[in-house]
Symmetry: C3
Subunit: 273 residues, 3 copies
């Protein structure tokens, strides 16, 4: 199934509008190109609404949000909804500040998202309306492990059901669920967290996968997670004794550029519950 989903990305080359942070924006653009999609960035109020209209999907990332760009996220999200375009939310740092939490919660209220992708701390913040995120990474107390996996799936399914959106929670084990079914994904490498923006890249990737497969949002979101994790594994095998997080970043994007749909099908490591 993931083979066809990825094939659709390569064939349709979805144009994705990204309203995203300036820290990892270049990597997001190259990751979108690597998977077969096409990126465009626009965050001016007037510009963004028009750009959204010519795109196939929208990716909203609140990583370096500000008073100027927050209204743009709402306006572009609304426009994308009107046009029936898939919209992905990456609530970077929700729980770490009032502005981030409020913006994420406000977006959740005003915009229909196809997928929300974040770490468990960010997701708990969205579900509970407040949080204790330490920066942009998940709290230690919040990590997803085999021990608390059932509990996290239960949380994710309930949250997904409640808001009617596919939820992607990434960590040591990744969970993607629409509230009915949950994909537990064991692709990826722990070293990916030592690169800035692998989460942001996955959100952009998710937007491309979902946009190219609008009828299968859950499966497309899960395929994106598997693809990202698999590329992390492939890239890791390439690492020499001299390579560190900067080369690893390049190798992961390179791996996505080279990855075939058949390889994704074969390398995806998940179970459906």
């Amino acid at each position: 199934m993931f083979e066809q989903i990825f094939e659709n990305v390569r064939q349709k080359s979805p144009l994705i509008h990204n309203i995203t942070n300036y820290v990892t924006v270049n990597d997001c653009a190259n990751m979108l190109l690597a998977c077969g999609g096409s990126p465009i960035m626009a965050d001016d109020l007037e510009d963004a609404v028009e750009i959204t209209a010519i795109c196939g999907g929208l990716n909203i990332n609140i990583g370096t949000l500000n008073q100027r760009t927050v209204p743009v996220m709402f306006a572009a999200g609304k426009r994308a909804n009107e046009l029936g375009h898939p919209v992905v939310l990456d609530p970077v740092g929700a729980g770490a500040s009032r502005l981030r939490t409020d913006t994420a919660l406000g977006l959740l209220e005003k915009v229909r998202f196809s997928v929300i992708r974040g770490n468990i701390s960010e997701m708990k913040t969205l579900a509970l309306g407040s949080g204790t995120t330490k920066g942009v990474d998940a709290d230690g107390a919040d990590r997803v492990t085999e021990d608390n996996l059932e509990e996290v799936i239960w949380f994710a399914e309930n949250f997904a059901k409640k808001i009617g959106t596919v939820i992607t929670i990434t960590g040591a084990i990744d969970i993607v669920t629409d509230g009915e079914r949950a994909f537990c994904i064991r692709n990826g490498r722990p070293e990916m967290s030592s690169i800035t923006g692998t989460g942001c890249q996955l959100s952009a990737l998710t937007a491309a996968f979902v946009t190219a497969n609008p009828e299968r949002v859950l499966e497309a979101a899960a395929a994106a997670v598997c693809a990202m994790g698999l590329c992390g594994e492939i890239a890791y095998r390439r690492m020499t004794d001299l390579d560190g997080n900067s080369s690893y970043r390049n190798y992961i994007i390179d791996a996505m550029y080279r990855l075939t749909p058949a390889e994704l099908e074969k390398g995806a490591n998940y179970e459906v519950r």
Copy 2:
């Protein structure tokens, strides 16, 4: 001739002020350093006008323009004109939104540019005052091929003549013309379009080449296109089975860092019409 032009860049190390997008800005800075130039970025109204004055040339790229930065483009362009500095325009996405089209057209009216570099869709938008750009890439219907080459040269020469500016249209075949003569350039690789910002980098490079060779703007702009394409070829030869667009990006900048003026002279693949 290109040997001397590139030698001048290496010798004079032109300081280039870039008002550019936050997606590819880091690559533009490293590309400018790679060619022997020196980059500075400033986009605050007050700051930019002063920074322009201490620089040798100005590169305006509207990739992630907004209401705050658009007036800065006009003000810095005006200041650069007063000082007789070369100014390059990269009309990213002109035709994709009203703000982009209007800003590019407005700049064309108020600022004298030495060179405008864009894809054929963006250029048609500027020439016609409206367009149908699909995102930041040229429309399929607009691609420059051997079949429509004559027509595109005719268009470029007329547009260049009309506005009195050197026009660089990049695609499978690149055209650089001042309205009298046209360089048709066949350097480069199709894979370069799978990297974000190769066009932006070329615009920054063009600013450096023209600033170091103010008496030969047409030739300098053509040399920059050849240099960028040649580096794309050199970098491509270095690619392994594991490399993708992210490593390719690094290798192209690396190639520019290593390229000698003599190698540019030898590797430049163009005809003058």
Copy 3:
């Protein structure tokens, strides 16, 4: 001593809030991760003050300052001071424009900095209240060499003493002083200046080192300079005939990722005066 200082960075993983330029922000984030720290970027007024509070240290870099972000620098700096967090200033381009000079001088007046890191031209601007910086690089007339080393140390010590802040002046020879003692550091490679943002990365690194070693600010700042320079040396040894400044950038961050505290102790090349 540097071994323990670096060990503390790896162990404590300091969370560093960066208000920095959009040119080199990604490299700063990856460098912070490479050294064992954790980066977060926030530059909205409301957001930044809260984010600063959850971080261990603050890094202010005025590289692409604007009217919106300048007040954020003051507010976050004030908040960090209230909380007793280390604050580092990178006065990029002070002397190159009024806004940059005034902002740097204003910050110096209103915010207590643990360390200020810049090139000699920027530092002279701060000390004298005006300057002649050519862009973001040190003026040729200002370079630190063996010939003027004594003079520069004298200047740095006096400035450090006067403002009660550790001063890091980077160049061919780096000087780190608190006004009492001066570290003269001879790590590094001249090729590092052909990469955009090695200075910005060092400032971010300095923030991490100082935050993890608040009782030894001078030594921590010196250790950061040695670590950066040493990584420049290690990375340089890895360069092939095809590599240029883009790969060199990656290799330096990679080297920091791999560097052990013991290797830093052994490779640090400095004398204390």
